[in-house]
Subunit: 200 residues, 4 copies
DNA sequence: CATGAATGAGCTTTCATTCAT
DNA sequence: TATGAATGAAAGCTCATTCAT
């Protein structure tokens, strides 16, 4: 790998870093290219040298955010322990770098909003969520196989767990004071595993 | 109440109806006032007669969407039955007018994205979610009181249920083919109430 | 015809008048929309209210310039007299409003330059030149029929006359001091009609 | 002459060749330096090493195009024969390398359009046309002196002949299907020499 | 109340030119 | 000489908002 490529990649990341900050602060459409220029410390021409449009920057950022997330998820799935501990382990892993989350979550919701209208963004998010879902389904199925869990439908359970995580993220965005991101995911997951019904 | 006011209200609703369609299709920032003008069949001057800015329309629409939702929720909370049936009843109620949901969900996510940046939108959504949360907490607490449910923390349960609903909505937006909105909420809620763990 | 339409047409002409001046002075591509804005006394938004792009203004101006010219030509073709007098009459007619010519000729050459690359401009000019050609061919053919002229190919003669006019225009643009636009067309046409060869 | 200069000249010509292609295709102002870079196979820095600006390239190309043409013209003027044959010989000579003409004509019209606005371009073209004019005037005057031609004004005749050539070129650019460049110049010139009028 | 032409600040994007390597 | 990443001053165009009628 020539050093040139690294310089090029570094520039692209420098731009995406700036874009992430600006998008989180102002949203995709409120963000002006000049804001990203100012935040990046580069010139406008340079931004357009590396990305052919604002939309290109958005898409590349989407790619990077979810790719990084997916890599983390996949490296976290091969933990040992009971199903409930492994699922909670995933959430702990995600919650670990909280500063990072706080930085990216507003962008994530921008993506969700855009996804409802733009096919290629929706497809990207779909694949991410399906990968997430597959990992969870796998863990749950193993729990069923080892008779830790009841013979429920692993797919439905995985869907529910994904929904809980994404839903909690949303609640946290809207009402950070009432949702403690360090404890709530684990609490919700344990409730799901233990059930609410009184055992007679 | 003079008839004048009714005409005024009718015009405002006509505009908000058009705005809802355009916002759902294009998003808040991609939507141009001219698009709303075209969709409403009114003139641009008339739009500005009833709303002083585009932001005003967004806020009024937010008000209307969540007010309607809240009224439905509150009328649905006084049902009879077990806690699980009442919670599921809520979701059934919400799912009832599915066409309406499909129309409004993209807008809802627009609001969530905006909420991460705009205080007054965030406060509005927070109040809506807190009202939603309170209703669920109430039902769960009654379930605990009647010994239908284990003595869990009703607040955490309500949070989890809200997260499940909002999370499923998000999954549906991104991947409508894999999430059946008519059955999935009930399935997830039953999983939560019954728990996943094998009873020893 | 409602007065509204006239106001609209007046605005369009106001813009095209300004564009003609700016294009003549700076050329199509050197001319900035802001220059036309300044020259027209209108605002930028108004220009874009009446024409959807700079290209649109160019095309509309082309339309107007050559349409006006064609109307003049066609009204001039029904004169009486010998073929040579009628052809010279055409040129006199064209030369009449010399200020107008001096204003439009630079634009005309812009059009010719663009025509070599843009199909729809070329087609437009082609039709104009063909109309011009048809009028001349008609006059020449009548001259042949009345035995004023030798039985030459009227089509080739018309082509030659059009070439002389267009060529002289070009020479005048490049070297106005040596080409007297008030006398040269008539001189050249008389040379063509009388021939150069000494009669033996 | 050191070999260095030849390499330099070769590079300059390589750039001008590329520029000619790009300018013919896109026009001066639509052509981007990057297009010339791509067409030349050189780098952008190299272009700016040999020419200090885009305008410099345009001027150098103008110089080269008309210098070549003038050299051809001047070498063609010393032919033998009658005046009409010598004038036609000039056009035959010009028409000989037709591919070259087809390539350069669109650029020529670019130059004419620019000439109407830029003094130094206009002066250049004026000198070219005057040289062209002088050669023709010379031939015609010799025709008069040898009593082949009537005692007309040789200057006016030369002007008319130049106009015919330039005018036909213009007609050909706009309507190549109706103007046969291999025959039309000769036809028009013969018409001019023989005259249209019926001899009584 | 209703209209739609008019406004202009602000946006994304382009591209001739420069310069460190 | 040669390269191509970097620059930034424009350019074309948009669109929320206003206001004369």
């Amino acid at each position: 790998m020539s050093p040139r490529i690294n310089v090029s990649e570094a520039r692209k990341n420098q731009i995406l870093d700036a874009a992430a900050i600006v998008f989180a602060r102002q949203g995709f459409y409120q963000a002006r290219m000049d804001d990203i220029v100012a935040e990046s410390g580069l010139s406008k021409g340079t931004l357009y040298w590396y990305f052919k449009s604002k939309d290109d920057i958005i898409t590349a950022l989407l790619q990077r955010v979810f790719d990084e997330d997916l890599i983390q998820l996949q490296s976290a799935q091969h933990t040992a322990g009971s199903a409930v501990e492994r699922v909670i382990g995933l959430s702990r892993h995600i919650a670990a770098d909280f500063t990072e989350i706080a930085r990216l979550v507003p962008i994530t919701f921008e993506f969700y909003a855009v996804a409802s209208r733009q096919e290629h963004i929706r497809i990207f998010l779909k694949e991410y969520l399906q990968a997430y879902h597959a990992i969870l389904q796998n863990i749950v199925q193993q729990g069923i196989d080892t008779q830790e869990l009841r013979p429920v439908d692993a797919k439905d359970v995985a869907t529910t767990i994904v929904a809980i995580y994404e839903g909690l993220l949303l609640l946290w965005v809207v009402d950070a004071e009432h949702i403690d991101w360090h404890t709530q995911p684990e609490i919700s997951i344990r409730l799901l595993f233990d059930g609410l019904r009184r055992l007679l």
